[in-house]
């Protein structure tokens, strides 16, 4: 919304106030003035007279002007086509600062000195586009400030909060705010006119309760012509294009009172106005010559039979005012906010009028605005005004008296406000109120639809008293411990472990494409899909983080980053039957070098490296000796020979492996774990166990197995075949030849209660050797 401060001055005197300072005051009181437009600093800007303008030697369009600025004459180079001797112009001298930020300096233009600039209205910020320099009236006094010869108006660009759109989308409403901030009186505009000797003899009928208030009034013999200068200027400054006096007056009223008016050509309408809900598939051709199809949710004004206007949204072509119009039927009405909003959204016809209907209209202005229109039409369009108006009023009036006490105000604002302060503020706001002791009974004004409860009054008092007077303090409350809820703590601990293991945390988008969603949906989860996405890349809510991390990898690879260790912990979502489910997942991706050296060889990331990370993580979480990996060949986007499910307590919690070479030809490894699934298994508590006091004995053995032997299975068997003194078995050497696979095992023996003797150990060890040889038909190797 743009507010012309010149216009505001009609209702509350502000011509003596600095418009920038006023804007700050209003902003600090709660209505945001985003920008002040048209403020000119007239320092070093004077009226000048061109006394000589001759062509520039080195240019075919520039002129070298001798300009009289009172005290002396200056030579100024100017490119405007209308620069000529004898005219009075606006001269910016070196040091002047124009509203567009340009600073005037002495310069040399194509070899000729130029000591300033002759300004156009555009350069002064008073016009969008100028053709040449601005010519001042002939009686302008040379050397003086050009201020009084220009149509100056400081325009406020408002950035309104939704609660203040009902009152500050019009000049009178904004004037009330200004009057409260400055503590000044307000004067409402003239609404008088001469009644002519004819009647508004239309038959008005309202058949829907979605019309709250409807006035119709007939005016005759309008003369359609250009609007007076001040109306054109004010409309322009407020952001509307002047058209003709009749259209402009209707817009002027809307910007003045916030009450949209609709003008029908009375001769096209006939004798009846019937307002009702549209019929299904009822058609109307609107002013923009489009055919619109309506339904029973749309309010229409009809001539008794066919629609002539979509209420609050747009008029019909069949009843519009044109250059031949003589007689006008004025509508000033209030329609249901939601209905107008839905219709305008549905038809994609959002206008200044529909916007105002949506935020609510002050019913006290509906008739006033109508009368004001008659006043202006009489004055500027020579209209004759009927002596009555037709009205249907469906508003159930009930005054809302809000009770609030001084104690309540002080309790919420947290600062001592006196009784007299509150009364002063209520007066400034022009609210109707009664005081009994420290209790105030405030009538919610109809021009402030946002005021309805006690807290609203408290806010009004607080904002005008000034929040800067609040002295900050910490709440004095009972002590209590803060902290993280367990699920967040769990996530944070895991996150910090992953970082300490060298993985970078990523933060990627929850919304992904259908394609990615389908490619990586290894759990066959039902996707949650947006009803109205904004792009094809972001239609599905991810059920896992894999594609997001691959995207990050691709992005970085494209920037020649070869070592990538990344992870993300994120909630993912899916549908199960009719339920929306959440799952907290950890996904990690690794590729390249583990260590970085400029000149030495370092190990590369492989399956076993990432497997080590997974085990480290799970052991950190207290799942030592409860972890299993089982080969999984079923995940389509993974290398089927290098992929395994991860199990804790025999329950699957995720997978690990190498990404399928068709997706990533480089060695890229990934794992994903459902942390919510994992945390269902309780991790062990930390408990002290004393290290064994007795020495351990190591025994090594090596076999040639058949080629497809699985080391883990042999290890499991060794444990089974051994007695309790076997503490640990590891594979310390693997050699694959074309005929067989040789594995070397190291067995650690130890007892908790005694020193083992060699005999005992050898007995067990030899037993294992013979059983393994037998079971696997494997040959013991002797080195």
């Amino acid at each position: 919304m743009k507010i012309s401060t010149n216009w505001i001055n009609d209702y509350v005197k502000i011509d003596d106030v600095d418009k920038k300072e006023l804007a700050d005051k209003i902003t600090n009181a709660g209505v945001n003035v985003q920008e002040v437009i048209g403020e000119i600093n007239f320092n070093k800007i004077v009226v000048g007279e061109i006394i000589n303008a001759k062509p520039h030697e080195n240019s075919d369009h520039l002129k070298v002007c001798e300009v009289n600025i009172g005290a002396n004459t200056e030579q100024i180079v100017c490119g405007a086509p209308n620069a000529r001797s004898g005219i009075k112009v606006v001269v910016s001298l070196p040091g002047a600062k124009l509203p567009n930020g340009m600073e005037i300096k002495q310069s040399v233009i194509r070899g000729v000195n130029s000591n300033g600039m002759l300004c156009s209205l555009e350069e002064l910020g008073l016009e969008e586009k100028s053709e040449g320099i601005h010519e001042l009236p002939n009686d302008a006094i040379v050397g003086k400030s050009p201020k009084e010869y220009l149509n100056l108006d400081s325009v406020y660009l408002l950035d309104l909060n939704p609660n203040r759109k009902n009152d500050c989308l019009n000049h009178i409403g904004f004037a009330y705010e200004v009057s409260a901030v400055l503590d000044r009186n307000i004067t409402l505009p003239q609404t008088d006119y001469t009644e002519s000797d004819f009647e508004t003899n239309i038959n008005l009928k309202i058949e829907t309760e979605n019309v709250l208030l409807y006035y119709a009034k007939l005016v005759k013999n309008v003369e359609i012509k250009e609007s007076p200068e001040f109306i054109k200027l004010r409309l322009t400054n407020a952001g509307m294009r002047p058209i003709n006096n009749v259209v402009d007056i209707s817009n002027y009223i809307m910007l003045e009172f916030g009450q949209p008016l609709h003008f029908f050509d009375a001769d096209k309408v006939g004798r009846a106005l019937l307002v009702r809900m549209a019929k299904e598939n009822e058609k109307i051709i609107t002013l923009d010559k489009q055919e619109r199809t309506l339904n029973s949710e749309d309010i229409v004004i009809t001539d008794g039979e066919i629609p002539i206007c979509i209420a609050g949204v747009m008029g019909g072509l069949n009843s519009d005012v044109d250059e031949n119009t003589k007689n006008i039927l004025i509508e000033s009405a209030i329609f249901d906010k939601l209905k107008v909003r839905r219709t305008s959204l549905k038809l994609d016809l959002r206008s200044e009028a529909s916007l105002r209907y949506e935020v609510g209209i002050n019913p006290e202005y509906t008739l006033m605005a109508l009368k004001r229109a008659c006043h202006l039409l009489e004055k500027y369009a020579a209209a004759k005004i009927s002596k009555n108006e037709k009205v249907v009023n469906n508003i159930k009036t009930s005054t809302n008296v809000i009770e609030v006490t001084l104690e309540e105000i002080n309790k919420v604002i947290g600062v001592k406000i006196e009784n007299t302060d509150v009364i002063d503020i209520l007066k400034r706001l022009k609210f109707d109120y009664k005081v009994e002791g420290n209790t105030y009974y405030v009538t919610a004004p109809s021009r402030r639809l946002d005021i309805s409860i006690k807290e609203d009054i408290i806010e009004e008092v607080g904002r005008l008293f000034g929040y800067d007077k609040i002295v900050a303090k910490l709440p004095t409350l009972e002590m209590t411990t803060g902290g993280y809820v367990p699920r967040i703590k769990y996530r944070k601990d895991i996150s910090s472990l992953m970082r300490s293991l060298g993985f970078n945390e990523t933060r990627t988008y929850t919304l992904i494409s259908q394609k990615n969603s389908e490619t990586f949906n290894y759990e066959n989860k039902e996707n949650i899909v947006l009803l109205k996405p904004i792009s094809n890349d972001r239609t599905h809510i991810r059920t896992n983080i894999i594609s997001s991390l691959i995207d990050v990898l691709n992005y970085n690879e494209a920037r020649t980053i070869d070592d990538v260790l990344i992870y993300e912990i994120s909630n993912v979502y899916y549908k199960e039957l009719d339920d929306f489910k959440e799952d907290m997942k950890l996904c990690a991706l690794a590729k390249g070098n583990i260590l970085k050296s400029d000149f030495q060889k370092t190990p590369k990331i492989d399956f076993y490296y990432l497997k080590g990370i997974v085990i480290t993580l799970l052991e950190y979480l207290g799942y030592k000796n409860r972890i299993k990996f089982i080969r999984n060949e079923e995940i389509p986007f993974m290398h089927k020979g290098i992929t395994a499910d991860i199990l804790v307590d025999n329950k699957k919690i995720g997978f690990i492996g190498k990404i399928h070479p068709s997706l990533k030809h480089d060695e890229t490894y990934i794992f994903e774990i459902s942390l919510d699934e994992l945390s269902k298994n309780k991790g062990a508590r930390i408990k002290y166990t004393a290290p064994s006091k007795y020495p351990s004995i190591k025994k090594d053995m090596s076999f040639n197995f058949r080629k497809d032997i699985i080391a883990g299975e042999v290890i499991n068997d060794i444990y089974k075949m051994s007695s309790k003194i076997l503490k640990n078995v590891i594979v310390f050497d693997v050699f694959d030849s074309t005929e067989h696979r040789s594995l070397a095992f190291s067995l650690t023996y130890q007892a908790d209660d005694r020193t083992l003797n060699d005999e005992e150990v050898m007995k067990d060890f030899e037993n294992v050797i013979s059983k393994i040889s037998e079971k696997y038909n494997a040959k013991l190797r002797n080195e």
């Binding site: 759109k165 949650i528 904004i534 050296s597 400029d598 000149f599």
Partner: protein, 342 residues
């Protein structure tokens, strides 16, 4: 015999020993079983008692001299050998080190954790809520009924008529109050992901991050809110001034916006603060009675404040990031977030 000993002494003193091997040979030839000195000693049995005393003394002195000298020389030679070895092992220490990556946090996470630290120290619990949320909690119970114009400002991703991707973290307020069956005081903050139908550009992101806060207790005022907010912004931005500006949120009344004095220009006006000297960092206010009542709280007894920080914006301000997309691109070349901030 005396002369023999003197001669042997002279010979020993003139010896040149260069290596440990030579030294060992000489040791044997003097002090070994058949060594010169051993032989002198054994020849003492052939001399008279008077001479034994005198010669014995001379031989022992000679023996001590030899063993001391050889012992010292051995040490010296050993050291020389070690030094030579160390010299030969010398490396070029100017070559670069070998590195292991310290994983870095996303900048958003760093800012969230700084805020959490302040709030936890004030007795707040950090909670969370689902991102797939129902309209009831995201809007309706926050005093935003269907058709409320403020819903327009939050163009929301709907999933069904009643389910959506939350457009704010505020529904966690509702969830927290509803979950509190005793209807007792509350102090929570909730950082989390939020979504709106914005096209991504330098200053808009369809996914962003908020941190919601809610305090419900008795006799809470805007002064308490201001004090709490001051602690937070000073933690993030140092010694800045702050101010409240009246604002509007459907779920708070009165509502305010929290501005801080521009930490870049000190309030004089610059590009960062758009020449106003102030930067808006949070929205806040006193919890609207409709919200409290809707969640079962007795507004005669309890009131409270709520606030919301735009974490992305705070992160950008704090670290001087000009484009919000940077926070979600995860460019690994950006790597200053794995270290202590000073």
């Amino acid at each position: 015999m005396k002369e023999k000993i003197e001669a042997a002494k002279k010979e020993f003193e003139s010896l040149k020993i260069n290596t440990l091997e030579e030294l060992e040979n000489i040791r044997i030839s003097y002090l070994g079983k058949k060594g010169i000195i051993t032989e002198f000693l054994s020849s003492l049995k052939n001399v008279s008692k008077e001479e034994v005393k005198e010669l014995g003394k001379i031989i022992n002195e000679f023996k001590n001299e030899v063993s001391n000298k050889l012992e010292n020389l051995k040490k010296e030679l050993k050291e020389q050998k070690l030094n030579a070895k160390l010299e030969s092992e010398k490396i070029d220490i100017s070559l670069n080190g070998t590195f292991r990556n310290i994983g870095s946090a996303n900048p958003i996470e760093k800012v969230i954790e700084e805020l959490e630290e302040v709030f936890i120290s004030l007795g707040f619990t950090v909670v969370e809520g689902p991102e797939v949320e129902c309209d009831l909690y995201n809007f309706e119970m926050l005093n935003l009924p269907i058709g409320h114009p403020a819903r327009d400002e939050q163009d929301t991703f709907y999933i069904t008529d009643t389910m959506l991707l939350r457009s704010q973290t505020s529904p966690v307020q509702v969830r927290t109050m509803l979950a509190n069956t005793e209807k007792s005081p509350i102090r929570v903050v909730c950082p989390g992901k939020t979504y709106r139908r914005d096209n991504d550009d330098a200053s808009h992101s369809h996914q962003f991050t908020q941190m919601e806060g809610l305090l419900v207790d008795e006799n809470i005022s805007l002064a308490d809110l201001k004090g709490t907010m001051d602690l937070v912004v000073r933690r993030l931005f140092g010694n800045v001034e702050s101010r409240f500006r009246p604002s509007f949120y459907p779920f708070t009344e009165p509502s305010v916006e929290l501005d801080i004095s521009c930490f870049k220009c000190g309030g004089k006006g610059c590009e960062l603060c758009k020449n106003t000297g102030w930067i808006t960092v949070a929205g806040a206010g006193m919890v609207h009675p409709n919200v409290l009542t809707g969640c079962g709280y007795d507004v005669k007894k309890y009131n409270g404040f709520a606030f919301g920080f735009g974490i992305d914006r705070l992160t950008m301000l704090k670290y001087g990031i000009g484009d919000i997309r940077v926070l979600y691109t995860n460019d690994l070349r950006v790597n200053d977030f794995n270290r202590r901030d000073n």
